[in-house]
């Protein structure tokens, strides 16, 4: 049984399957499309959270009366830490400006009655964006402690509540995405394998005849398995194509409304989906063939 014969048989079966082949492939395509859509959704939700995480800043309030050199040295020192993306200095004056703005115009007069500026100068440290898993959070807290320990730093503020919320959202969403993503994947596997099973059900008679003329289960199965894999492959590729079209035509246009740039699936995930589809197609065939071929 040559490979050439096998592939020829599989292609021929597919072609002669007519509407049934078409419908089967369509169902596979749509199942994977939906799975892919879900992954796009989660990929983007993750991206948004990471984006939010990247906005997290550590504010290091400085000791009163540091001179320019000391401040520059401190800035340089902080910049060298590998998690740090950006460092900027906020003088006492700028701090007061911001404070006034925060309070609202109605209170500027009150603040102006103060004869000294009680607000400290500070250094704002932006960190390299990544999602806040529990692990990341700990690394972050470590960083905070490090900055607090530097000479010239009096006090450190980092929006503890924000970090807590981000960590909770990240951890929670990951969990939900894993659980629901798992269920979705199982569902897709189920639909694809059973659709192929339904298609093979109609081949019962022809399989019986082949058995009758002395073909072994292996000889009979191989072209069908290949056909199943082929259907999986075609469905997989079509679904990714469809997904990309929908992404370009719809999701990516939501940008105007959302002011957020939707991202497509990473290549490895696309590859994984297509390969998964092939395997499931094969598996679906195997399952139903096993059923027919276990008898005499």
């Amino acid at each position: 049984m040559s490979l050439k014969y096998l592939i020829k048989e599989a292609m021929l079966n597919l072609k002669r399957g007519g509407i049934a082949s078409f419908v089967t492939i369509s169902i596979i395509t749509i199942s994977l499309f939906i799975l892919g859509l879900f992954f796009i959704l989660t990929t983007n939700v993750r991206a948004i959270i990471e984006d939010l995480s990247s906005k997290v800043a550590i504010v290091a309030y400085l000791d009163n009366g540091l001179n320019k050199e000391e401040i520059d040295r401190l800035k340089k020192e902080v910049s060298k830490i590998k998690e740090v993306k950006h460092v900027s200095y906020i003088s006492k004056e700028i701090a007061m400006e911001r404070f006034k703005k925060d309070l609202g115009e109605g209170f500027t007069d009150i603040v102006e009655t103060l004869d000294t500026n009680p607000l400290p100068a500070s250094i704002e440290v932006k960190i390299k964006g990544s999602s806040f898993t529990q692990e990341e959070k700990e690394r972050f807290l470590h960083l905070v402690a490090k900055i607090k320990g530097l000479v010239g730093v009096k006090e450190v503020d980092y929006g503890k509540e924000m970090i807590d919320i981000l960590t909770k959202i990240t951890e929670g969403l990951s969990l939900v995405i894993y659980v629901i993503g798992f269920l979705f994947s199982i569902g897709a596997v189920f639909i694809v394998s059973n659709t192929i099973r339904l298609a093979i059900l109609s081949k019962k008679e022809e399989i019986e005849i082949m058995r009758l003329v002395g073909a072994t289960p292996g000889f009979i199965s191989t072209p069908y398995l290949l056909e199943g894999a082929l259907q999986g492959l075609i469905g997989g590729i079509l679904s990714m194509g469809l997904l990309f079209i929908i992404y370009k035509l719809i999701l990516n246009r939501l940008i105007f409304i959302l002011t957020y740039q939707f991202i497509f699936l990473p290549f490895t995930l696309i590859l994984g989906l297509v390969i998964g589809s092939i395997i499931v197609g094969l598996l679906g065939s195997l399952l139903s063939l096993h059923y027919y071929l276990r008898g005499g």
């Binding site: 049984m1 079966n13 019986e208 009758l212 003329v213 072994t216 005499g296």
Partner: protein, 217 residues
């Protein structure tokens, strides 16, 4: 070639298709299995092919106990047999050529030789021009002849023909019977199941009468 000892086949625990059959068919014999509609002819052939298992009794085909034969052995055994099924059992999605060629592919015959042998056998049943037709594009008689061609193509040791001329006119029927006799002369054991007593008697071969699942006379 074939031995049956007290073979019975009961469907749905009440329909006695065969009852207490004792039978021996030697290698190279030509046997006619004659009986009216529902006598159990097809059932007996099914047991011999291993397509169904007997309810009781023992059947030996070419030395194999059909009640305990493995899947692998049964495949190998069937490759040495040829069948003409009463309902033809052609694969609907394959052409005439492919249907016949499949039998040869199973036993690993080379592409070139397959072409030659299929053409030869299609020529014998006068269907060379229908080589690339699908079964549903053939008349009933033509389908029957394809089934016969498929049974002959691998020069079987044992040939089971179930009513192979039921849909054929007298002229072609005679030719088909002639083909069976020829195969028998090349030492193929032939079992011809038919309801046509007249046909059987003119052949002047061994006749086994079946009626209501029992061997009569």
């Amino acid at each position: 070639m074939i031995q049956m000892y007290g073979v019975s086949k009961i469907y749905n625990s009440e329909i006695k298709a065969l009852q207490g059959i004792n039978l021996s068919i030697e290698r190279g014999e030509f046997v006619c299995l004659v009986g009216p509609s529902g006598a159990g002819k097809t059932t007996m052939l099914r047991l011999i092919t291993g397509f169904e298992k007997s309810t009781s009794g023992a059947i030996y085909v070419d030395g194999h106990d059909m009640n305990y034969i493995s899947k692998r052995e049964i495949s190998l055994l069937r490759r040495k047999m040829g069948f003409v099924f009463q309902d033809f059992k052609l694969i609907k999605t394959k052409t005439v050529f492919e249907n016949i060629a499949f039998v040869l592919k199973v036993i690993g015959v080379k592409e070139q030789e397959i072409k030659r042998r299929v053409a030869d056998v299609l020529n014998l049943v006068e269907l060379l021009n229908k080589s690339s037709s699908f079964p549903h594009q053939l008349s009933c008689g033509e389908q029957q002849r394809v089934a016969i061609a498929r049974a002959l193509v691998n020069n079987p040791v044992l040939l089971l023909a179930d009513e192979p001329t039921g849909n054929l006119d007298l002229d072609i029927a005679k030719e088909i019977i002639y083909l069976l006799l020829q195969a028998n002369e090349r030492n193929t054991t032939v079992i011809l199941a038919t309801h046509n007593n007249h046909l059987a008697t003119t052949l002047k071969k061994r006749i086994i009468y079946l009626d209501k699942g029992k061997i009569g006379s």
